[in-house]
C-alpha cells in the first residue's frame, strides 16, 4: 500500500468505532517506535540534545521521558557544557 492509499484508508470514516481503536493502536505503535529509535540514537552516540532536535521537542522533555526507560546497558552521554 503506498502512502496515498494509507491516507485514504486512515481517513475512511465509515466506521468511526473501528477507526478510533485503530488510531489508538497507531499511537501505541508510534510510542514503541519512538523508544526504539531513541535507544538506537543513544547507542550510535547521539546526544540528548540531538535527539530532541530531531524529534522537535526540548532536551529536558526527551530526557525526562526516556532517561529511565531506555535499555540500561546503553552508555548515556553526559552533558559536557
Amino acid at each position: 500500500m503506498d502512502s496515498t492509499q494509507v491516507a485514504q484508508a486512515a481517513a475512511d470514516t465509515a466506521d468511526p468505532r473501528a477507526g478510533l481503536r485503530a488510531v489508538a493502536s497507531l499511537r501505541t505503535l508510534a510510542d514503541a517506535l519512538e523508544l526504539r529509535q531513541v535507544e538506537a540514537a543513544l547507542r550510535e552516540g547521539m546526544t540528548w540534545q540531538q535527539i530532541a532536535d530531531a524529534l522537535g521537542v526540548t532536551r529536558q522533555a526527551v530526557h525526562k521521558k526516556y532517561a529511565r526507560r531506555i535499555d540500561p546497558t546503553i552508555e548515556v552521554p553526559r552533558r559536557t557544557t
Partner: protein, 325 residues
C-alpha cells in the same frame, strides 16, 4: 498472610508481570492488554478461570499482537509492534502506565471491592474500549462467559496458604510450564542465578556450591551491600517429589541470618503451581554490647523485617515465573 498483605502481594505480582509483558512488546507503557496477560498467569481465581476457558499465555500474547496488527492494517499500516519478545530489565519507574490501565487497577481496589486479581479481572471485563472483549473473542470465549465462571468460582472458598515459618513468608505463583521443566530449573544449584535475583554466580569446587551476590545493578551502578555477605555457601538440604529445600549461609559473616528457601511444585491446568516458602534462620547474632540490646532491636525492627521477607519471597517466586516465560 492477612487479607491486606495478600492483596499487596497480588497487586505487586500483577503489576510486575504486566510491566514485563509490556516490555516484551517493546511498548513504553503498560496498557489494559498487558494487565490481561498478567492475569492469565495469576495463581488465584482470576488466572484459574481464564486458563479453564482454554487461554494459554502464548495464545493470549498472539491474540494481542494480532489485534494490533489488524487494527493497524485497517487503516492501511502494515507494521508489527517492535518488541523482540524478550523481557527487559525494568528500572524502578522505568515503565509507565497508561491512564486507563492505572484507573482500572485503582477502581478494582475501590470501596466494597477486594482489590485482588479477581477484582481487576472484573474491571477488565467491564472495560469500555472493547479491547478485552475482542481479545476474549479471539481466544474463543467472551466477557459474559468469563464473568459467569467468576461468579461460580466465587462460591468456592479460596485455599489458604500453609502457615509460614517463624521469620518466614510463603508466596504462590502460577508458571505456564509443566512441573518437570520447572523442577529442572529449581532443583539445580547451577541454575539458581536464573531465578534468585540476588545471586550472580553459583559454582562448585567439587564438594561445595559457592555463590556470589550481585554487587552492581544491571545498569552497572554499585549496590549497597555488606561486604561479608557477598560470598555464600549453597546447600541443597533435600530434593524429592517436586519439593526442594535450599539453604544459604554466609561463611564470612557467621553472625548473619541464614536464608532458607523451600520450593514446592504442583501440577495445575496449563502449567504448575509454584509455592516458595522463604525464611531467615537466626545466626549467632551480634557480639558484645550489641548482643544485650539485640532483643529490643528485633522488636523495633519487626515491621521492617516483615516487609523485607515479603519482598524477598515475592521476588524469588517472580524470578521462577520469569525464567520460565
Amino acid at each position: 498472610m492477612s487479607r491486606f498483605t495478600q492483596m499487596l502481594a497480588t497487586g505487586y505480582s500483577v503489576s510486575i508481570n504486566a510491566a514485563e509483558e509490556a516490555s516484551r512488546f517493546g511498548v513504553p507503557a503498560v496498557d489494559i492488554e498487558h494487565v490481561f496477560l498478567a492475569l492469565v498467569i495469576d495463581d488465584g481465581t482470576a488466572g484459574q478461570v481464564l486458563r479453564r476457558a482454554g487461554i494459554t499465555l502464548d495464545a493470549a500474547r498472539k491474540a494481542v499482537a494480532e489485534q494490533h496488527r489488524e487494527h493497524l492494517s485497517s487503516i492501511g499500516v502494515q507494521a508489527e509492534l517492535p518488541g523482540d519478545g524478550r523481557i527487559r530489565f525494568l528500572e524502578q519507574g522505568g515503565i509507565d502506565w497508561t491512564d486507563r490501565a492505572l484507573n482500572l487497577v485503582s477502581r478494582a481496589g475501590g470501596k466494597h471491592k477486594s482489590g485482588d486479581a479477581t477484582a481487576v479481572l472484573r474491571e477488565l471485563l467491564a472495560e469500555p474500549s472493547g479491547t478485552v472483549d475482542e481479545l476474549l473473542e479471539r481466544l474463543g470465549t467472551s466477557a459474559d462467559e468469563v464473568r459467569e465462571q467468576l461468579d461460580e468460582a466465587a462460591t468456592i472458598r479460596a485455599r489458604t496458604a500453609a502457615p509460614a515459618r517463624r521469620l518466614g513468608r510463603t508466596h504462590t505463583v502460577f508458571v505456564p510450564s509443566p512441573p518437570s521443566e520447572v523442577w529442572a530449573l529449581v532443583s539445580d544449584a547451577a541454575r539458581l542465578p536464573e531465578w534468585d535475583p540476588t545471586l550472580e554466580t553459583v559454582t562448585t569446587d567439587g564438594e561445595l556450591w559457592v555463590g556470589t551476590a550481585h554487587t552492581t545493578r544491571p545498569d552497572g551502578k554499585p549496590l549497597r551491600l555488606r561486604a561479608d555477605t557477598a560470598r555464600l555457601i549453597v546447600e541443597r538440604i533435600s530434593a524429592a517429589d517436586h519439593r526442594v529445600e535450599w539453604r544459604f549461609t554466609f561463611p564470612d559473616a557467621p553472625g548473619a541470618n541464614q536464608r532458607s528457601a523451600i520450593v514446592t511444585l504442583e501440577e495445575a491446568a496449563g502449567g504448575s503451581q509454584v509455592t516458595v516458602d522463604f525464611a531467615w534462620i537466626r545466626g549467632s547474632g551480634p557480639r558484645g554490647l550489641r548482643r544485650v540490646v539485640a532483643p529490643l532491636a528485633r522488636l523495633i525492627a519487626r515491621p521492617v523485617v516483615g516487609i523485607a521477607l515479603w519482598f524477598q519471597v515475592v521476588n524469588l517466586a517472580s524470578g521462577i515465573s520469569r525464567a520460565m516465560r
